[in-house]
């Protein structure tokens, strides 16, 4: 077990109000770690700290350290951190361009394309990895905004894969999707686990139990419990965890 991400004593604040309190948590390489918890438990704040998306918010401040492969992420350049730690949002928002351009956008900006002919390969591989290739291979040049919700979300996954990150953060990726599309996204997650490390924030407790290796339960800005998913769902140590996963509150 190699720790990919180490979080040490992390506290986060919005306008001086503490939303995440002295968090210590590790993410193991090639695992899916899901984070569950009721609203305002700090799980999204935690996720958005990992690739420093929160830094865009001027009311946000933090204490503590986060290490990615032993490098402190707060010392890294934001762009290179986000290249290594990709993020998928709750709402699938394709950029306003074609399917092809959506995927090639980031590799181009980041200067990852050395040869012009290489582009097609990147696009095809990314779409295949996101299990979208067969559905869109004949209309790569049509607008991405015309796809269905589930396809858009998988396009967003493909877009992240094209940059070849090490960690992918999923922020409630299926909250707007129907059960069939959800199943497809979950399927791609399980496949992606072979190559990437995944952190999944979800409101869907069942989803956490379906896909993740370990599950962390957050409540009111604190980590209550973290354990192997199989164990946490069968015999949680804390009363609050049990209440939440059995649907008694939250």
């Amino acid at each position: 077990m190699v720790n990919k991400i180490k979080v040490e004593n992390l506290s986060c604040y919005y306008n001086k109000k503490c939303v995440l309190e002295s968090l210590n948590i590790n993410v193991v390489q090639n695992e899916i770690l899901s984070v569950i918890g009721p609203a305002s438990s700090g799980k999204t704040t935690f996720l958005r700290t990992l690739n420093r998306m929160n830094d865009l918010d001027i009311t946000y401040s933090r204490k503590g350290d986060v290490y990615l492969d032993d490098n402190n992420i707060f010392d890294m350049k934001m762009e290179s951190l986000r290249k290594r730690v990709g993020m998928l949002f709750a709402m699938p928002i394709p950029l306003p361009m074609s399917i092809y351009e959506n995927i090639i956008y980031a590799p181009k900006r980041l200067g990852l394309i050395t040869r012009e002919s290489y582009q097609d390969t990147i696009v095809e591989q990314a779409l295949k990895d996101a299990s979208l290739w067969n559905e869109v291979k004949d209309r790569l040049n049509s607008s991405a905004t015309r796809m269905s919700g589930g396809q858009q979300q998988r396009l967003c996954i493909a877009r992240i894969l094209a940059v070849n990150p090490e960690v992918i953060l999923f922020d409630e990726p299926c909250s707007g999707l129907d059960p069939v599309s959800t199943a497809k996204v979950e399927e791609s997650m399980l496949e992606l686990k072979q190559k990437y490390t995944i952190v999944l924030v979800t409101n869907n407790v069942k989803q956490a139990s379906r896909v993740s290796d370990r599950t962390a339960f957050f409540l009111m800005g604190k980590l209550v419990e973290i354990d192997k998913t199989a164990r946490l769902f069968v015999s949680p140590k804390e009363k609050a965890t049990e209440d939440y996963i059995t649907g008694r509150f939250g």
Partner: protein
């Protein structure tokens, strides 16, 4: 009782709504009537392509090519100055400036739109005109270039406010998505924000152009009023609007000269109509998406 009051108010509102349409149609009809009477006597082609504007000599020559070129030269010059400055200001206000600066800048730009054109013309005459004369070592500073600078000042507020709206209405998630992929702030602005806001920005530019072409007082004071075909932007020019304003007082009502000015008005009307129509096309495209 209540029902009849309702009907009265409804009719009143209907009439007010119709009035604006009626006015436009009346103005257009009037321009057409006088303009066409002139075209019948003089000829459209000769009017538009004629190189000499000598309305009061014998025989009179009514060629408005110099006036059209004057208007176009000033308008193009103004756009070259106003468009980049306007768009960058809009970007600064909506994307880069801290909140305090943004509010101040926004109200200042709106204030700029409220300056009467005669004041801009006056200020331009005593400041920009001598400056242009000295810098470029010209015999007179009253040139198309000076006019373009002052007109740019008048177009900038329009361009800034409308493009700023367009840029602000780009969904926040686009920016977040691009940033999360590791794009820098500038890459995000250039490839995503500007691209998504483009229809709105083009509409802003068109409306700015409309304002510039229709402007009269400032250009009349600054551009030198010489109705000849300009060879460069540093020549004095006379615009279509300035011609109408300057000569209407000296014409005989119903005469050739009088009608020729209406014909100029008609040409101007058609140009601004095309510009506004294009702007609407782009704005409409943005809404339909």
């Amino acid at each position: 009782m209540r029902k009849s009051l309702d009907a009265v108010i409804e009719t009143l509102i209907f009439i007010c709504g119709m009035l604006s349409i009626v006015f436009v149609v009346l103005i257009f009809g009037f321009l057409f009537k006088e303009g066409f009477a002139f075209f019948k006597d003089f000829g459209v082609l000769k009017f538009i392509t004629g190189q000499f504007w000598y309305p009061s000599s014998e025989p009179a020559s009514f060629g408005i090519l110099p006036l059209i070129l004057g208007s176009v030269l000033v308008a193009v010059g103004a756009c070259l100055i106003a468009v980049p400055i306007g768009i960058m200001t809009a970007l600064f206000i909506s994307e880069i400036a801290p909140k305090g600066v943004r509010d101040v800048l926004k109200s200042l730009v709106e204030l700029m739109a409220a300056i009467p054109s005669i004041v801009i013309g006056f200020v331009g005459m005593v400041t920009v005109v001598p400056l242009v004369k000295n810098i470029f070592n010209l015999s007179t500073g009253l040139t198309a270039f000076a006019g373009a600078i002052m007109l740019a000042f008048m177009a900038i507020p329009t361009i800034v406010t409308i493009s700023e709206d367009a840029i602000r209405s780009v969904p926040w998630q686009y920016k977040e998505g691009a940033l999360a992929l590791g794009a820098t702030k500038w890459q995000t602005i250039r490839r995503i924000v500007l691209k998504a806001a483009m229809p709105g920005i083009i509409a802003a530019i068109m409306l700015g152009i409309g304002r510039v072409i229709g402007e009269t007082m400032a250009v009349m004071m600054i551009t030198g009023n010489a109705a000849h075909i300009p060879r460069s932007i540093f020549d004095p020019v006379r615009t279509m609007t300035a011609t109408i304003a300057a000569e209407m007082g000296e014409t005989v009502r119903g005469g050739m000269h009088y009608r020729s000015l209406f014909a100029i008005g008609l040409v101007l009307f058609i140009i601004t109509f095309i510009v506004n129509f294009t702007a609407d096309l782009f704005l409409g495209k943005k809404k339909n998406r």
